[in-house]
Each structure stands twice: as C-alpha cells, then as structure tokens.
C-alpha cells in the first residue's frame, strides 16, 4: 500500500516535470477552441481557417485589400514566421481556464486568440487579464464581454448589439416598404449566448416605443430531443418575424419542425450560430429556403470582392466547405495579431497590447472598414449584413450597397 502510493506520487511528479519542457523559435500564437465535445464541429472549422490564415501570412499571396498577405512572415519582425498552436477547451470554462494557464505557463505564445463560446471567452480572458497578457477574441458575440473594462482584451467580431441593431434597421426598412413585420417571436436557447442575444433584441424592441411587439418569447432547453412545444407556441402567436438565437444544430430541428407543423412567417432571422453553418443550407435545401441571418461573410461576398476567392479556395480545399462569417472573423483576427506584432516590432505582452490598442487595420475581408478598437476593446469598424439562403446558398440581400441578390419576401410564397 505504502509503496504503491509513493509510486503513484512519483509518477505525478514525473508528469509535472515532463510537461514543463517546450521550446519555440517563431512567433507563436495560442488558439483556444473547442476541439472535442459538443462544439467540436465549430472548433474544427476555426482550426482550419487559422491554418489558412497562417499560410497566407507566411507565404506570399497577392490578395488585394489584405495587408501582410504579399510579404512573407511578419514584416516588423524581419519576416519572422507566425505559428499557430491549438488548445482544446472542450467547450468548458473550467478546461478553458486550465488551458489558458498552461499557455501562460509554457510561455512560448506571444498572444492568445479565443474562444468560441462567450461563456469560455469570459473566464479565459480574465486569466489573461490578471497576467497582463493580450487576449484577442475573434467570434464570441456576447456584448457583455467588452463591457467589463478589461485592458488586455480585444474583440474583432460584431456583437449581439451590432447584430440586433442591424436586424431592426432591416425591419424598419421593410416597414417603410409596407411589409408587415411588427409582431416578433423570439426563440433562443437558455444559455449565455441565447439569453444575451435576446436581451439585446428586447432592448431594441423597447427602443422602438411600441412599433414592435414580442408576441412570443420562447426560450428552450439547450440540447433538446424535439421542439414541438416550442414551435407550436410560436405558431399559436402568429408572428410576422421570428428571430433566432440558436447556437447549435438544433436550428436544423427547428427548421424541420416549422415545416412539419406548417408555421408561416414573413421572415426568419438568425443571430450567428446554427444558421451560419454551411451544412445548414446545403443539407436542408428547400426546408430552409428564405431563412435570413446576420452575416459577416458568405461565398457570395466574392462577387463583390473577387480577390477573396483565393482564401475561400484554400479553405475549401481543407474543409470542403465555403468560408462563413465566423471563419472569416477568425481569419481577420490573426491578421490583427500580425499587424500588432509588426507595428510593435516586439513580442513582449506590453508592447503587443500597446500596439493592439492603437490598431487601425484597413482590411477588406469583413463588412466595414476594418479593425479599430474602442477603449473597451470592441472593434468599432465592423459592420454586418443580412444574408438569405436561396437554393442552398447564402446570398447577401441587405443593405443595398452589399446586396448581390434580390430578397425573397415573404420567405415562403
């Protein structure tokens, strides 16, 4: 007994020593994403896009409007190559926090990019903040993330605030065209993501001073086996517009159930999440014809910005899918990092953070001018567009200066 326990303790000690050894020569960026567990699907897409981005940065590509693509490596650091190293959060705050600490412990990474869910981005960025280490968030959409007054936290993606504002600008526009959009049903998963998104929607509804009404408020349990009760509740309320905050593949279930139970609405709008997954459009085809959602990138963008085709091709070769908004946000985020390294001409946390604070990166990958952070670290040059699924593809339909295709309204004739 005694010996066995001592043996076990010794083994633990060995593990401790062995994991401490690691080395790196290039500029390493640590990426925190869910690479196992229920969100693996999203995590893997992120992984692929960062690999593409690193390739573009390290190699020489001629992409108009994308700085650092042509030059090899990071110009400000004599062309040092960028390497990306992935850490698995398993979609859990606890694991995410442990992994962040490991990143900081290993000390080879110069910057952290992550995470996917807001619930993981929050504690992980706290860890970085406490170590005064720069943390770039690519895709988490909870507006609260950039309301915490953190000094080392920056986010590239638009937030729920941007999306909801865009939705209601869109609805206002529709109203002006005489379309019926006043009765809104909101459907959201009872998670940090869903609740935050809908808080923003409710704020916009309140701000409209009675123009819009929430006729059905339908939160649902994450990971449902069926959504009949939810959909019937919506059906009973007869909304003009349904707004979704559904992160997960349940979006598929909703779409099918809407179809089965004959729910008709003029429009179905989605926050980022299940809707943006290209599989959603390609696999469900007719079922989801006419669904709309916020979109920071779709293949359709290439029609307006042909130069992005190269990136999409590279991504497609890796994953078999077209780039989507989330992936493009990730892509852009790595460029923000490179921009900061290049301008700082150093990799120590303080200099990099300082450079990030003064970022004014003009880049043509996302709607909006590019990337510039406010004092809370939120990107204020970002914009969002409305896409619609038409014949299995995402088409940008609003606002008019981005639109490539005419909108189908109502979604089901």
């Amino acid at each position: 007994m005694k010996k066995s326990i001592i043996l076990a303790l010794f083994l633990i000690l060995l593990l401790g020593i062995s994991s401490a050894v690691s080395a790196a020569e290039e500029v390493e960026v640590a990426l925190l994403y869910p690479l196992s567990g229920p969100l693996t699907e999203a995590g893997k897409r992120m992984k692929s896009v960062y690999e593409v981005a690193a390739e573009v940065i390290n190699g020489s590509y001629d992409i108009q409007g994308v700085p650092y693509a042509k030059s090899e490596g990071i110009p400000g650091l004599n062309g040092a190559k960028i390497t990306v190293k992935f850490y698995d959060t398993q979609g859990s705050p606890e694991v995410g926090k442990a992994e962040t600490e490991r990143i900081l412990q290993e000390g080879t990474a110069k910057l952290i990019i992550g995470a996917y869910q807001s619930a993981v981005s929050k504690p992980t960025s706290f860890v970085a903040e406490r170590h005064k280490f720069p943390f770039l968030c690519a895709v988490s959409s909870s507006a609260a993330l950039t309301e915490r007054g953190l000094k080392y936290f920056f986010r590239v993606a638009p937030t729920d605030f941007h999306d909801s504002r865009m939705f209601f600008n869109f609805l206002d526009d529709m109203r002006k065209q005489g379309k019926k959009v006043e009765n809104v049903a909101i459907v959201y998963e009872k998670t940090e993501f869903g609740v935050h998104a809908m808080k923003e929607v409710k704020k916009r509804v309140d701000e409209s001073k009675g123009i819009y009404q929430v006729v059905a408020d339908v939160p649902y349990a994450f990971k449902s086996t069926d959504v009949n009760a939810e959909v019937l509740k919506i059906k009973a309320a007869k909304p003009d517009v349904i707004i979704h905050a559904t992160l997960f593949s349940e979006m598929t279930l909703f779409a099918k159930t809407y179809e089965n139970l004959g729910v008709k609405s003029n429009a179905n709008l989605s926050f980022c999440g299940g809707y943006q997954n290209p599989k959603f459009a390609s696999q469900l085809k007719d079922t989801v014809e006419g669904y709309m959602g916020s979109c920071t990138f779709a293949e359709d963008f290439i029609r307006k910005k042909a130069q992005l085709k190269t990136i999409n091709e590279m991504y497609k070769a890796k994953t078999g899918m077209n780039l989507d908004g989330i992936a493009m946000e990730g892509f852009t985020t790595l460029f923000v990092a490179v921009d900061a390294f290049s301008r700082a001409k150093a990799t120590d946390p303080e200099s990099v953070t300082q450079a990030l604070r003064t970022t004014e990166l003009v880049i043509a990958t996302l709607p909006g001018k590019g990337v510039k952070f406010d004092e809370n670290g939120q990107n204020i040059w970002i914009d969002s567009t409305m896409s619609q699924i038409q014949k299995g593809e995402y088409k940008v339909v609003w606002p008019s200066d981005w639109a490539t295709t005419a909108m189908v309204w109502p979604m089901r004739p």
Partner: protein
C-alpha cells in the same frame, strides 16, 4: 385556447413519445435483466443513426429499407459489447459496470468523431422526407408517423417475445435468479448476451427511425439517453409495458407541459413528474 393547437400538441407528444418508448424498452431490458445501467445506450442510438446515414449517403439505401440491416448491426454491437466489456465485470460492484459503460460511451463517441468528424448530417431526400399529412389544420409529418407506428409495432413484438416465447421466459427467469436459471439448463451468459443484443437492437431500430427526421452527429445520443433513464425508472425497471407507457407519458408531458408552462421547463416537468410518481409509488408506475 385553440383546440387544433392542443390536439397538435397531443399528436406531437404521442409521435415523439413512441420513439422514446422504444429507446427506453431497449434500456429497460438490459437494466432489468442484468441490473446494469448502460451508459453507452445513447451512443448505440448514435451508431444506429450514423449507420443509416452512411448507408444512405454512400450506397443510396433509403433509411426505410436499411432498417433491418441497422437492427442486425446493432444487435451485433450489443453482443460484442457484452462479450468484451460487460462479461468481465459481471458479479462485481454495480458501479464498475457503470464505469465500464461510461468509458465505452466516451470511446464510441470519439471513435465516431475521429472517423466521421463532428458535423451534423441530415437525410433530406429519403422516401419519407418532407411529406406530411394535413387535415383539420393538424399536421402529421410522414417520417414521424411512420417512425411512431414502427416503434409501437417493434415494442409490441418485443413485448410478445419476452412474455410468450421460451427465450423470453428464460430471460425473465435469469433476471430473477441467475444461479437457479443455470440449474434449469439455461445458458445464462447466452441469455445475457442476447438480452444485450436485443436491447441494442431496440435502440438500433429507434435510431433507424429517428434518422428520418432528426439530425445526426456524434453527441446526438446523450439527450435521448438521459431521458430514457428517467423513463425506465418511471415505468419500473425491467418492465417493458411500463417503459412503453412511461415513454408516451413523457412525450405528452414534455409537449403539453412545455407549451403551457414554458418550453425551457419541459424537461424539468418530466423530472418533477418522475419525482412525484416515485414518491407515491417507490417502484415506478408499474414496478414490481
């Protein structure tokens, strides 16, 4: 209150309830006979759904026709699981079997993840897909209707098999007293293996039906599995009729209760129902 909506809730509840029933029947067989809580039950469901999907995607076999193959496949998976994982831990602390099936669950899920990736998949061009029957403002999706009928039929066949056949008798005898069953000339290990196979085949059939209207991905089984644990306990362990009725009850409570109380509480209602029932009848609705 709109009557059509209420009727629709009842119908939807029944349709999904029958599927829950069959999944629970598979679980209750294993649980009742061997006193083993099979944590990998949900992963069996996922395996069945993925097999059906792969047969559809690669060989173009419609899920309606691949069903027998899926059932056979899962039966085999059940046998294999028993031989490799369950048999060595029989007779030890019940938690060890639980631990083993838990490990198996992690293993299966991640092997599937490794080979097939995390994407969710949907069968959208099958014989049944997208079709529905509408009358009086009520809608019945054909895939769900066919699945529900199929699940009821299979549950009934399993019930008959267990209560009337020679093997069923041997199975119940084994469940009650393994040693005495041995003395009666019953090869109890074979009974266990077949029961495990049968349980897996049930969940396989449920998966084969489910794939007609549900998406598939490596984690899909978890939610169904958790619900089926409650259904089995609600109906009474090892009681097929109990699992069947409890499954329907859960389907109804989840739909009707979810509608009136709030969809986010629908599973909570199921758990509360269980707690109420169990405090009145400590061995479930139909327990021994």
């Amino acid at each position: 209150m709109d009557v059509t909506i209420f009727l629709q809730l009842v119908i939807s509840g029944l349709l999904i309830g029958f599927v829950f029933s069959l999944i629970a029947v598979g679980l209750t067989l294993i649980w009742g006979v061997m006193d083993i809580l099979n944590f990998a039950h949900g992963d069996f469901l996922m395996l069945a759904m993925f097999s059906a999907f792969l047969m559809f995607a690669n060989l173009g076999v419609d899920p309606v026709f691949s069903l027998p193959v899926i059932v056979g496949l899962l039966f085999f998976v059940g046998l294999l699981t028993f031989r490799l994982v369950i048999k060595p831990v029989l007779g030890y602390h019940a938690l060890i079997a639980l631990l083993a099936t838990f490990g198996l669950s992690i293993f299966i899920r991640n092997v599937v993840l490794f080979f097939l990736g995390p994407d969710f998949r949907v069968i959208n061009q099958s014989v049944l897909a997208g079709k529905r029957i509408s009358f009086l403002g009520l809608h019945l999706s054909l895939p769900q209707l066919v699945s529900a009928i199929g699940c009821v039929l299979i549950t009934y066949v399993v019930y008959l098999f267990i209560s009337k056949s020679k093997f069923g008798r041997a199975l119940r005898a084994t469940a009650l007293d393994k040693d005495t069953a041995l003395l009666m000339g019953i090869n109890t290990n074979r009974v266990f293996a077949l029961t495990f196979g049968l349980g897996a085949a049930c969940v396989g059939a449920a998966g084969g039906f489910l794939v007609n209207f549900y998406y598939v991905f490596p984690e899909v089984g978890l939610n169904f599995a958790i619900l089926s644990f409650v259904i089995v306990a609600l109906g009474g362990f090892g009681n097929i009729g109990g699992a069947f009725l409890a499954g329907i009850l859960v389907g109804l409570v989840e739909n009707i209760g979810g509608f009136f109380v709030g969809p986010e509480f629908k599973y909570t209602l199921v758990f509360i129902l269980y707690l109420i029932v169990i405090s009145l009848r400590p061995k479930g609705l139909f327990g021994w």
